[in-house]
């Protein structure tokens, strides 16, 4: 899913119901991570639900594989992937994801607690991009 599609959809929403239905729906298309990768070293800490994250650098671009056992978090992962998937480490470093979250009003509507781990996920991706850039 492209970032523009997400932006356009969010622009139309005027109720929390619409936002959540959309987030849950886009999460349904996220491929499930095979069980053998759902291991401790791939777990992102700081999430109430489980989030598994793997990164690799292929042809200078970041390949992210992320999954969660919660529907809403899977939807948030699709948004994070739209921002970061296939980008160079430099692009990841330069991208202002906080501005995107503000624009989508994600933290007001989708992050009542630290529980969904969106920030932990982003911090980990940025950290790994940083390391890959070195």
């Amino acid at each position: 899913m492209q970032l523009d599609e997400i932006r356009e959809s969010f622009a139309f929403f005027d109720s929390w119901e619409d936002r959540y239905r959309f987030v849950i729906d886009i999460g349904r298309d996220l491929p499930e991570l095979p069980r053998e990768y759902r291991v401790a070293e791939n777990i992102v800490r700081g999430c109430q639900s489980q989030v598994w994250l793997m990164t690799e650098l292929r042809d200078g671009r970041l390949r992210l594989t992320i999954d969660s056992d919660a529907h809403i978090v899977r939807g948030l992962i699709v948004i994070v992937l739209a921002a970061y998937q296939g980008k160079t480490p430099a692009d990841v470093g330069a991208f202002d994801i906080e501005a995107l979250f503000d624009e989508l009003d994600l933290f007001r509507h989708l992050s009542p607690t630290r529980g969904n781990g969106l920030r932990s996920m982003v911090a980990r991706i940025r950290h790994e991009a940083d390391q890959a850039a070195d």
């Binding site: 119901e17 959540y20 109430q48 639900s49 509507h109 529980g115």
Partner: protein, 421 residues
């Protein structure tokens, strides 16, 4: 009292409960009027913390506005007033838990600090070959301090199993309790499942082996009238904030002769009789365990919470709360795909559940959007979740101010969330 006299699960047929409308105390709690996410608040996270009545808020404010001073030492009138209020609060706590002497009440930051105090002070009195017995349903605050004690001393931490219904496996308990058991530390009521444990029987059995017993009481004290002498426990720990009092204040009850025999914990002012550079003579109970300026405002607030509880028809309110919990359990069970986690014979305040189509976090978030506050996750009881083979639960926990409308909103909220997923 013994757990068998607890009236958990009593249906709404008690005398008085048909006057439910007159038992509504929610008007005393200003926060319950607020909106959350644009919706009226349905507060069902009372096992995490309860809301505060106006009477408690006014007492705390009254202390700071009227007679804020340090206690016990100063030579002026306000300090006398503050000391009288602080020690008056200790006396209220003593009466509240049925202790013989107010020297047996140590003010702490809460239950966690109370348990840590006991665990720390036992360091010199146990060693290799000794055992601390807990259960798999304990809150982390009744596990980790004992693990730390065992690491320091070489003693062993033994955990009694919990059945699938969420009750202590008594057969396993009696198998694991023995002459090596130096201390039994067990929850009065499980924070994660609401199970009321048969603490009277457990205490008698443990004392039969000469073991000390600490009861972890924060989920019980608001609901069950506690009498530590009738229970026969050595220590009882609880928090003010789970019984309408402020955060940052709680109490440890300990039998005077045991507390007297324990070494002090933190060093500092208040806890001393006489200090030279070489050595210190410690103060008497309870001050020996209260180094530094205490949480005076918190103690005053806790005293006000006890007064407030004393002014309420507690038995009728508890019966009303029990009826709400029972209705919630029964209505949740009727929803497709909902599984109640823990079906104890005696339940208090808490219903934990799962919905097979989604993660607890999904439901917690979607309920929050509807103004319904619940808790999701492992509830600081990861060993219990491991034992039950689940990552966590959705937990709705009730207090004396909840109403049938809160139950209706919970059920409707879960149904609506199911429709999203």
């Amino acid at each position: 009292m013994t757990a068998s006299s607890v009236t958990a699960g009593t249906p709404a047929t008690r005398p008085g409960s048909h006057h439910a409308g007159q038992l509504d105390i929610s008007g005393d709690f200003p926060i319950l009027d607020r909106l959350v996410n644009g919706q009226p608040l349905a507060y069902l996270d009372n096992a995490a913390t309860t809301q505060k009545p106006r009477q408690v808020l006014e007492a705390v404010r009254g202390y700071y506005e009227g007679f804020n001073s340090n206690v016990h030492r100063a030579a002026h009138a306000m300090a006398d007033e503050a000391t009288a209020a602080f020690e008056g609060a200790r006396e209220k706590v003593r009466a509240f838990v049925g202790a013989a002497d107010s020297r047996e009440i140590i003010f702490t930051r809460g239950t966690t600090e109370a348990i840590n105090l006991v665990a720390h002070c036992m360091t010199e009195s146990i060693g290799p070959g000794d055992e601390i017995l807990i259960t798999e349903m304990e809150h982390h605050s009744n596990i980790v301090p004992w693990q730390m004690l065992c690491r320091r001393t070489g003693a062993e931490l033994v955990a009694c199993r919990v059945t699938h219904a969420g009750e202590i496996d008594l057969e396993d308990f009696y198998a694991k309790l023995g002459p090596r058991t130096r201390l039994l530390a067990v929850a009065h009521v499980s924070n994660a499942l609401g199970t009321v444990n048969p603490v009277g029987d457990l205490i008698r059995a443990a004392r039969g082996f000469g073991a000390r017993v600490l009861i972890d009481g924060p989920q019980a004290v608001l609901h069950i009238p506690v009498d530590v002498r009738q229970l026969g426990c050595d220590f009882y720990a609880f928090s003010g904030h789970k019984m309408f009092g402020p955060t940052g204040i709680g109490a440890l009850y300990g039998r005077a002769e045991l507390l007297d025999a324990l070494p002090p914990w933190q060093g500092g002012g208040e806890m001393i009789e006489r200090v030279t550079i070489e050595r210190t003579e410690y103060n008497q109970l309870p001050y020996k365990f209260e180094a530094g300026t205490p949480n005076i405002a918190g103690a005053v607030g806790l005293g006000a919470a006890i007064d407030y509880l004393g002014s309420l028809p507690r038995a009728e309110l508890l019966a009303r709360e029990e009826a709400l919990v029972e209705t919630a359990v029964n209505r949740l069970k009727q929803l497709p795909g909902v599984k109640i986690v823990g079906e104890p014979a005696q339940r208090l305040s808490v219903v934990s559940f799962l919905v097979e189509t989604g993660h607890p976090h999904d439901f917690g978030t979607l309920l929050d959007q509807q103004g319904i506050a619940v808790r999701t996750g492992h509830h600081c009881a990861m060993p219990l979740m491991d034992r039950l083979g689940i990552p966590g639960t959705i937990r709705a926990s009730f207090s004396l101010y909840n109403s049938p409308s809160d139950v209706r909103r919970l059920i409707a909220g879960v149904e609506k969330a199911m429709d999203f997923i």
